[in-house]
């Protein structure tokens, strides 16, 4: 007696969101099956991998530094990042704008965005703000203006500033809006609802439901994503059918496991290898839980995750 396969198919499906223009554009979502379950039904748009660069220049991680060697500007880095093996899109983080950090003026950052846009052309771009709610009000409005016509994704609109960010990126300049909440299905849903009410097309919204490094409360990320995908597909909840993007690199490289020096922890071996491990395992776990796109920064992680996706989908 053969095994009775029972595919799990749903009538509902995840929205399809396109980032970038022309041949190089990428599409997120569109499937009616659980994450990576190609044995249940087709997944036309495989999950995508983004490469993060920042306005602060090249980071001091040997493999990252070596990759961007010779880049004289952030725009050069963006170009180089877009050519990385396995890369589908580039993520420009403007964290230098954080008032609690470098506090770079908005004009300087917008100038960088313009250069990056010029360097990338139609290639899909995601711009992350400074992370500071107040600053992003102004910064992301100007950034959206600078990105007009690129079909970029602007991250992120949060509960505190979704009106300005949603209105500028989504309404005024026709870009995609990232809706960022903090690892809670109800908060994610609420933000989608109010952003949509503002007039932003639901097919232009990508969720960032929040993340954690593996080992640091990651179980909340898993369960939040599991429940969102479940609500979207089995309950046909159209306020949770937006695809999910997950910034992995920020958390992965800021925990003890990837930061402690080899001098302090000789048995742990090189910090870089540990950071790559944190990034790869976080990204793989995110993808199987429901992310449609992950943001990484190390060339080794990008290549590995892209290869895994290729083998699975």
């Amino acid at each position: 007696m053969p095994f009775n396969q029972k595919p799990e198919k749903f009538a509902a499906k995840i929205n399809t969101v396109t980032i970038g223009n022309g041949d190089k554009a990428i599409a997120l979502g569109g499937e009616s099956v659980l994450p990576l379950y190609t044995f249940d039904g087709p997944i036309d748009n495989a999950p995508k991998v983004g490469v993060e660069i920042t306005d602060l220049g090249v980071e001091d991680i040997p493999g990252v530094k070596a990759y961007y060697e010779g880049c004289g500007s952030v725009a050069d880095m963006a170009k180089k990042a877009s050519e990385m093996e396995g890369a589908d899109f580039v993520v420009l983080s403007l964290k230098g704008g954080d008032p609690n950090g470098e506090d770079k003026p908005t004009e300087d950052l917008v100038a960088i965005v313009k250069e990056v846009v010029a360097a990338l052309g139609d290639y899909p771009l995601v711009v992350e703000g400074s992370g500071n709610v107040e600053k992003d009000n102004e910064l992301l409005t100007k950034v959206s203006e600078a990105c007009q016509g690129t079909n970029a994704l602007i991250m992120s609109a949060k509960e505190e500033n979704y009106k300005t960010v949603g209105a500028s990126a989504g309404l005024a300049y026709g870009l995609n809006v990232g809706a960022e909440s903090a690892v809670d299905i109800n908060l994610a849903k609420q933000l989608n609802v109010i952003t949509t009410k503002l007039g932003v097309n639901p097919e232009k919204i990508v969720m960032n439901i929040g993340n954690a490094a593996v080992g640091y409360g990651y179980e909340y990320v898993v369960s939040t994503m599991d429940r969102i995908r479940n609500a979207a597909l089995s309950q046909n909840d159209d306020t949770l059918q937006m695809p999910i993007i997950t910034p992995v690199s920020v958390d992965a490289w800021s925990v003890k496991e990837s930061m402690a020096s080899e001098e302090d922890m000789p048995e742990w071996g090189p910090a870089e290898e540990r950071g790559i491990g944190m990034e790869i395992m976080g990204a793989a776990a995110d993808l199987v839980s429901g992310s449609h796109a992950v943001i990484l920064k190390h060339p080794q992680s990008v290549a590995t995750i892209a290869k895994m996706i290729k083998e699975l989908v």
Binding site: M1, K6, Y218, P270, A284
Partner: protein, 447 residues
């Protein structure tokens, strides 16, 4: 399939004798169906009816035990596909892979590297629980047996990857007391392998060319009376392996197909051989969905640190938050004269706060008291974190060990300051910022 009350009623004597404590057989049957009564409460059930009921009420996935003594591990026994539906019960176990095709130096190096990974993380000891010893068809039997001996000497649970009956028997003679897994049954040798495993009292691993063949082989083994199995769901490539592993688990839990109600083995040394980074990605994937044992080429700290952290998170019971032991945690070389800070024992809070304190570089002591594993505000609202609990902890556990009399409390419970000053005479109470990320600045500027 679970039975309903009517189906159970048909098996009762229908005499309404009340000996079970229920007024009628029907009422009793309804209680049994809901799990409110045990079928054994009825003294008049036939053997046959009891057997049918036992089968029907058995859990969807068997719990299989491997290893012996303090190295015994439980695999399977899961009842849900998603942790938020209840909880996962048996964490994924990891094995490193040895093979009769490797040379001695290679094998020794892998075993040495494996032994080095042994550390504690939030109350759990982290190490490689198993060693997979693969017999490469045609290699000398003696060489394989030497590796089995070496691997057994490490005290880890062995998984013998061997489809050759004679070799498997010889290997079991060496290591059967450690209750290894004999991963060697397939459609061709199921009967012989099953006898070997049963005679040795060990768990049998089953594989098949595809899910249909695996299904048939398991059914055959069950027919022979062997239900002490694990299923090797490794396929020809990554995609097939993922499909197999998910479908086996889903069939058991969601569709109650008990033939697939066994734990799984996923062998990454077969589908991502010598590709360390790919194995990192896949071991994460199969820890999430649904590998009971995952076999890797080798283990080192750069793999273990993220992996065991992930596993610890995923297998946490959603109803019981992860907590850290109450106590004094010195940070950045803090000593008895260093500033004291306090927060709750919720692991997430502890990690965030201790991480920020480490980043500040300032020596200090982090005092963790029992707050029932809740976050700061929740614990305060529930009365688990109060001036009373903090003062008691400080007086009983801190005052005789620490000379510094400055205590920093979380910004979110600034309201406790006055009370604490009254309850802890001689202490200066300082209020920290609201958010942990502001701690670095706070600590650097604190004098």
């Amino acid at each position: 399939m679970a039975l309903n009350g009517i189906q159970i009623f048909k098996m009762t004597p229908k005499t309404n004798c009340k000996e079970c404590g229920s007024p009628t057989c029907m009422a009793f049957s309804m209680k049994v169906a809901q799990g409110a009564a045990e079928i054994s409460a009825c003294p008049h059930m036939s053997e046959e009816a009891l057997a049918t009921l036992a089968e029907a009420t058995a859990p969807p996935m068997k719990t299989i035990k491997v290893g012996a003594g303090d190295k015994e591990y439980t695999l399977g026994g899961e009842t849900v596909l998603y942790r938020h539906d209840k909880t996962f019960v048996s964490r994924t176990r990891y094995a490193i892979s040895l093979c009769s095709c490797m040379d001695d130096a290679d094998i020794d190096a892998k075993l040495e590297a494996m032994k080095k990974v042994d550390y504690e993380r939030i109350g759990e000891q982290m190490y490689v629980e198993m060693v997979y010893v693969n017999y490469h068809e045609g290699d000398a039997q003696d060489k394989y047996l030497d590796i089995v001996k070496k691997a057994a000497a490490t005290g880890r649970v062995l998984v013998l990857g061997c489809t050759d009956e004679a070799v498997a028997k010889a290997a079991l003679d060496i290591c059967k007391d450690g209750k290894p897994i004999l991963n060697g049954a397939n459609a061709a040798n199921a009967e012989a392998m099953s006898k070997l495993a049963t005679d040795a009292g060990v768990v049998l691993g089953v594989s098949g060319a595809d899910l249909n063949e695996l299904y048939d082989t398991v059914a055959k083994l069950e027919g022979l009376g062997n239900k002490n199995l694990v299923l090797d769901t490794t396929g020809a490539d990554v995609k097939t392996t993922f499909a197999n592993t998910v479908q086996v688990r889903r069939a058991a839990i969601k569709n109650e197909d008990r033939t697939f109600g066994y734990p799984s083995i996923v062998n990454l040394s077969k589908i991502a051989k010598d590709d360390k980074y790919m194995q990192e990605a896949l071991v994460s994937l199969f820890t999430m969905k649904y590998g009971s044992i995952v076999v890797l080429d080798q283990m080192s700290y750069d793999v273990a640190l993220p992996l065991y952290g992930l596993r610890q998170n995923v297998f946490t019971d959603p109803q019981k938050p992860m907590t850290v032991e109450p106590g004094i945690y010195p940070i950045n070389g803090g000593d008895e004269n260093s500033l004291c800070l306090t927060t709750v024992d919720f692991a997430l809070t502890y990690f965030v706060v201790s991480g920020e304190l480490e980043r500040s570089g300032v020596p200090c002591n982090l005092l963790i008291s029992d707050a029932a594993g809740m976050s700061v505000l929740t614990a305060w609202a529930a009365g688990k974190l109060s001036s009373g609990t903090i003062a008691k902890f400080v007086q009983e556990n801190v005052e005789d060990k620490i000379k510094c009399r400055k205590l920093v409390i979380p910004g979110k419970v600034a309201v406790l300051k006055g009370d604490l000053e009254a309850k802890l005479p001689g202490w200066e109470i300082i209020v920290a910022p609201d958010e942990a990320v502001q701690l670095v600045k706070f600590m650097k500027e604190f004098k």
